[in-house]
């Protein structure tokens, strides 16, 4: 297994912010110099607009962008034509909620989500349901913080058009049984959409094996730059869908009255693309693959296990986690009698960065009867010492508030 303390040296943020204990990786991850260097190198040596110029530089920029697409495709075991670049995963999910309607048979009018969706996989479908007069249904979260699969079997039926769910909860860390949900969707003739924002950075994700119709991925949560989101879609579906945005780069011919659109994936990539960012993402994938996705997952588990054990030793801590076997790299908790913002504020004084609040999951917080939770989320550069510092800082919170 790789040495996380050594790995920190690859991440300039830790040099520039001495003593930083960064535990907000579910929000965004830090960037290694390999990624930063690759985007900078692209800008210095290959920058041009893609698919436009008949000159070497533009050809090279295009090649870089398309190589990045191949890299992403290999990473999730897809074909490059099935990989669409977006700004971020929110845009990926909005792309789907804006373009899928035409592919849905008339007798279907329900969308099934889970109670643990991030707002980015909830609000687009609320709007979709309102616009098209569809019903929204929610697979419940049980008291052990896992999904109620019996309920899922009940809810997903011949009326279901779309089953959209998060692979790993950004609050609870729960790893959902994606294969089961995809197969339930398939047997009901519904489209399956996997929000892989919290899974793709932490474990091997294989779209072929999963057999999902669509997947959304966030590049900046896996060491990549911001501005590099992904939609994976089966080609047969992408082909039938209308474009999401209109403009340059997504047409095959244009008259003043009409336009014909090009094939996927470019059909969904109107306007100048984020090439430096896609290059950065490709390099992030190289970095992750060098470490090994299984190793990364084991590392996550080790840290999560350690954090849960240590937190459990503290008095007055409530943990929101389904247990180490079912979770990945995220530990949410509350300190009795102390608001999450106050916890985060005092942790910040100790140079420990965690997130406190509703984590873009307001309905889930309401369900648990809390206004928010504190969340520590780990990644490749985190160490047991980081967890120890978190616990030391939490003790300080207790001292301040215990007086």
């Amino acid at each position: 297994m790789f040495n996380s303390q050594e790995l920190k040296k690859d991440f300039p943020i830790f040099e520039n912010r001495e003593g930083l204990v960064y535990l907000d990786n579910a929000a965004t991850t830090q960037k290694p110099k390999q990624v930063i260097g690759s985007t900078s190198e692209y800008c210095k040596t290959k920058n041009a607009n893609t698919h436009r110029g008949i000159y070497d530089l533009s050809e090279e920029a295009t090649e870089e962008h398309e190589n990045s697409r191949k890299k992403v495709a290999d990473f999730i075991n897809a074909h490059p034509e099935e990989v669409v670049f977006t700004r971020n995963a929110t845009e990926s999910l909005n792309l789907l909620s804006s373009t899928l309607k035409d592919l849905i048979p008339e007798d279907k009018d329900e969308v099934v989500l889970t109670e643990m969706e991030h707002h980015s996989n909830l609000i687009p479908w609320q709007q979709f349901a309102k616009a098209n007069n569809f019903k929204l249904k929610f697979i419940t979260v049980k008291e052990d913080f896992t999904l109620d699969y019996e309920k899922a079997e009940e809810l997903i039926n011949e009326k279901t058009a779309i089953v959209a769910f998060t692979h790993v909860s950004n609050v609870l860390g729960t790893i959902n049984d994606a294969e089961k949900l995809v197969s339930l969707a398939r047997s009901s003739g519904a489209f399956s959409i996997v929000d892989a924002c919290q899974s793709a950075p932490h474990m091997k994700v294989d779209v072929k094996k999963l057999d999902c119709d669509f997947m959304a991925i966030s590049g900046h949560k896996m060491l990549g730059p911001t501005g590099a989101g992904i939609v994976y879609g089966k080609y047969e579906n992408l082909e039938k869908m209308n474009p999401f945005l209109y403009g340059g780069g997504m047409i095959s011919s244009v008259s003043y009255e009409n336009s014909e659109f090009t094939d996927p994936p470019h059909k969904f990539e109107a306007g100048t693309q984020n090439v430096a960012e896609s290059v950065g993402l490709a390099n992030a994938i190289d970095y992750l693959q060098y470490l090994g996705m299984n190793e990364i997952q084991n590392k996550d588990k080790e840290l999560t296990k350690y954090a849960i054990e240590k937190l459990n030793e503290m008095e007055g801590i409530k943990i929101y986690n389904p247990g180490i076997e079912n979770s990945s790299g995220i530990v949410s908790f509350n300190l009795e009698g102390v608001h999450g913002h106050d916890v985060a504020e005092i942790l910040n004084e100790e140079n420990v960065a965690i997130r406190a609040g509703h984590h873009c999951c307001m309905p889930l917080m309401k369900k648990f009867g809390v206004s928010g939770v504190c969340r520590a989320s780990f990644y490749v550069y985190n160490t047991k010492e980081d967890v120890d510092k978190l616990l030391g800082a939490l003790k300080k919170v207790k001292e301040v508030f215990g007086k």
Binding site: H339, D342, E345, I346, G357, H358, S371, G372, K396
Partner: protein
């Protein structure tokens, strides 16, 4: 900014705030939340002859917003609606007597905004 934010006075007001609860004869009420952190606050206000006779707050908040709610509800008792409306961010910071970071300023200002909002709705 440091643990100085959590001075004894702030912590005491957080644990045992003044004016927490409900009125049964209030003339104005308002609810606000801070979508960033999920803080929620409700103000119930009794006015007579354009003056605030009594005020109670309820809801869930952090130490900063709860302590501020306690302080501001004390402060506005006896003030006219106009006087209350003219209170500013500086007045709140004076009451708190601590440095507040930009993010936490929202927590500190929520109670006053909620009170002012009650009179806008009326």
């Amino acid at each position: 900014m440091s643990s100085e934010m959590y001075k004894q006075q702030i912590l005491e007001l957080y644990r045992e705030p003044e004016n927490k609860g409900h009125l049964n004869n209030h003339t104005h009420e308002n609810f606000r939340n801070n979508p960033l952190c999920g803080d929620e606050i409700k103000m119930e206000i009794l006015t007579k002859d354009n003056k605030i006779e009594d005020i109670k707050f309820s809801g869930e908040g952090c130490a900063i917003s709860t302590a501020t709610a306690s302080l501001i509800t004390d402060k506005v008792k006896g003030l006219s609606i106009e006087e209350t409306k003219s209170l500013t961010k500086e007045d709140i910071l004076d009451l708190l007597g601590i440095e507040v970071s930009e993010t936490r300023l929202k927590c500190a200002l929520l109670p006053l905004e909620t009170i002012k909002g009650a009179f806008e709705n009326a």
